[in-house]
């Protein structure tokens, strides 16, 4: 069997659901998962649907073409169709912090992540040994003020050469250029070490300490041109008290960052995230 995942959004109209389910049935598919949501304020319809087809008679490109002319154009849908055979390819961008890297590679090794990691890029060599231990190609691309553009070109070359589907910034600590963002829209996942929108920008644990909050958080979001303001995929929090020094917040925060980033990666890799109006619709 071939399994197809369809993500749709469009203006809400009567009979959308029946039209889609009919279309699938007519093409010989069996719907195994359907979830839908309507944003009543914006009047936008969202749907995620998984459907199974007999493998021998099913050709993905033909299906997409039919879907486009018979359904998508009628309802003016934005749509994406994925075949389950093709695992998404994720590039990891890292710097000097190893906790998110160990966590993601541990999950990757255990089979928890439905994706491939063609390579890791870092602006430092500090974590190269970890990439080696996990047998993943490592590219050291230093970034300085003067070489920023050149470094980005090398990154883009690698991304294109490996047909990377999405990028994960696992505490990469560098600003991504608007050029790269425009090439990977809603496909660059960052982990920010605060409960956004509180404590945007650098040193959020220091700011949290200064403000005396009783709870700290971490936020995973898609990178957009505005810093730390992209669509939020996942957040989590943990309690702290006056007894926690900044170093304690950093240590407790690491546990949050790992799990929040991993959850965001899983949601994205499993095609469960749709973006609209700088917000995410997440079908679980």
């Amino acid at each position: 069997m071939t399994k197809i995942t369809i993500l749709i959004h469009c203006k809400d109209k009567p009979n959308i659901i029946a039209s889609i389910t009919n279309f699938i049935a007519n093409k010989g598919g069996n719907i195994v998962y359907i979830d839908q949501y309507v944003d009543r304020e914006q009047d936008i319809f969202f749907m995620r649907l998984e459907s199974e087809f007999e493998a021998e008679s099913f050709i993905t490109t033909d299906f997409k073409a039919c879907f486009k002319t018979e359904l998508a154009e009628t309802f003016k849908m934005k749509w994406r169709i994925y075949s389950s055979e093709k695992k998404p390819k994720m590039a990891l961008f890292i710097s000097k912090y190893d906790h998110c890297l160990y966590d993601l590679l541990g999950r990757y090794n255990s089979g928890e992540l439905n994706l491939e990691i063609p390579f890791i890029i870092s602006n430092h060599r500090d974590l190269e040994h970890i990439a080696k231990n996990f047998n993943i190609p490592f590219y050291h691309i230093p970034v300085t003020k003067d070489t920023k553009k050149e470094a980005e070109n090398k990154q883009l070359e690698l991304l294109e050469a490996h047909k990377v589907d999405f990028i994960v910034l696992a505490r990469y600590m560098q600003i991504i250029s608007d050029n790269m963002i425009s090439k990977y829209p809603n496909k660059i996942i960052n982990i920010h070490h605060s409960f956004l929108p509180a404590f945007v920008g650098a040193k959020p644990y220091h700011s949290a300490y200064k403000r005396g909050v009783k709870i700290i958080g971490a936020t995973s979001h898609y990178v957009t041109e505005e810093l730390d303001a992209g669509p939020i995929i996942e957040q989590d929090v943990t309690r702290v008290s006056h007894t926690h020094a900044i170093s304690d917040l950093i240590a407790k925060g690491r546990d949050l960052e790992k799990v929040v980033l991993a959850n965001a990666v899983k949601l994205h890799a499993n095609r469960k995230v749709m973006v609209y109006n700088n917000k995410t619709v997440i079908f679980t």
Copy 2:
């Protein structure tokens, strides 16, 4: 417009979703909400669907009859269909604790609960004044060993006279007879003051204290013949430490009990709960 909510479960088969959505479309309905789940272990299909029809041409009894012959019998479905016009009627059984009562009546007053409360029954008069303040009929039905059967008959009379849809035991503290349970299957909601299945039975906070747990909980479940073993609707927990005496656990637990019970009541009243194999499927 008339809004219909349909809950279905049956053996999983190909084309169920398409058949249902087609049926709705053929009857002139517009699906506004659809959610579905398949238990892959048991191979059971579950669905919750909301659909809108032109009010003038729609007759609920006719629709149900068609649904039964054209769809339900083919797929051997268990099904329930609700019209949104009719709010469910909830009877409140209470005893001497007031926290869940105040909480539910406060939400009822604020319009947060989509239901009607025709009356409150208690085996004590202690909280009668609260029922009065909220203008809800209060029936004092004492329960002793000797009068248990007689008391239940009075309760059943009231329940039937008011066509009550479901019963909420807001810390009622009395065992419900198998007879009454059989008359209201998966329609009696209890709040148990522990994180079930830990600490079944009486005095769970005392047991939690003795065991030295670091987290306590509350559980709302449907009442079945086995004590505290019915399908779980909602649970929540909170942290405790060695510094908390039993009285502290009881006080912290009250906050859990209120919110957990209220959430379970809302899920049930909004027809979002299905029961299968002593477990709940909850469509949110």
Copy 3:
């Protein structure tokens, strides 16, 4: 026995703890609780201590005088000493929302709160009936642009006449003047319906909805001149998703607000909160 609670902070120095425990022992007291914390960044020592004395031989004013000359002046301490006999008096300021009011009065009635409520002030009459049900004097003091100063004078008269110790703004929805804040420094407790410092100011649930956060929160803090920027006493959060409309956030938020405010009130009333550098040190 007379029970005394002492709160101290001062520059950290060697032998502070021994000096204090010695002082208590010399006065015939038995220490039943001691907790201490040192802010290593600021080098500030904080302590909370409970001590019991024979009631007949103990005179609080004498003890305070000795404490001042023998201890506090030596270490240049900021200090407060409370006798457990005197329950703190809390004034409630409310407006039109009833959830925090019901919650606090329910806890008050159940004996959960170690305080007295001499009266409730509101700028509207909507909730007067609740105050009556709980037998608490209710003062209707309307606030308009023109009468703001006059209204505040009435409020201050009542506060002084009843020797009120602290004020709780249970969704009072009015800005407190700098004049009143200066008369009750770190003695006015507010509940803000967001996870501060995110979403300062009006309509935080609307802002949270717009930003697409996956977790919402509530924050109780002392009122200072800068809006929503005072020392945080307590915070809590709950998960939300794209399916929650603004009205859902508001309903879920009510449950947070109630518990967070109640916890802050209990901490303050039990003299467990110290304020320093716009942050709280909380001894539990």
Copy 4:
């Protein structure tokens, strides 16, 4: 400076705190941390105290001797005194699951753990490569029904040869004998993959799935003769729903197990845990 940590418990009596603080002051120590708790039900006093002494004039053995005769005997204290110079030595027992191992070694590498790991013991060779990557000696000691006693002797030899202070069972999956437990009382830390006391024994995620709980947990506790019934050090939980298969519970549980075990290890290594009546008192 030499830093000493003292843990005490004894029958509660007047003037204990003053006696202890006086003793420290007389020996020339400066108390930098003090925390205490009284179990009012059992009338037991607990204290944790950190104190600094001039290194040149301080001899730990002398101090202990004085403490014993001048203080401990008078109050019939159970006591432990640790010098901060000596990091505790932790032996890791593992089997085939790598998530807790990676997590603990990652924290160890980052300097988050205040301890030494002299070696790792496993009954399988599967994770030997991880021990090597982190440069920690690995001993493969197979355990079968027939070799159980012999294997234990090898384990005990290693433990004694390296003067191991405590043992962590990082999903070791073998029953520890009463003999070994008696040699390391309250010094063997286990991670159980459920919210104890719910789901004692094997396959707790399967039981949680069957019961239909809405929250799963993990528990770290000291190993005692009764299975999964020892003093609880730390617990944490996470939400699940009907959509989660057993494999999902296992994956979500891994994240809990890692953090709960790491927190328990940190509390123990920092000498913040006292055990009494099969419960823990934890000073944070």
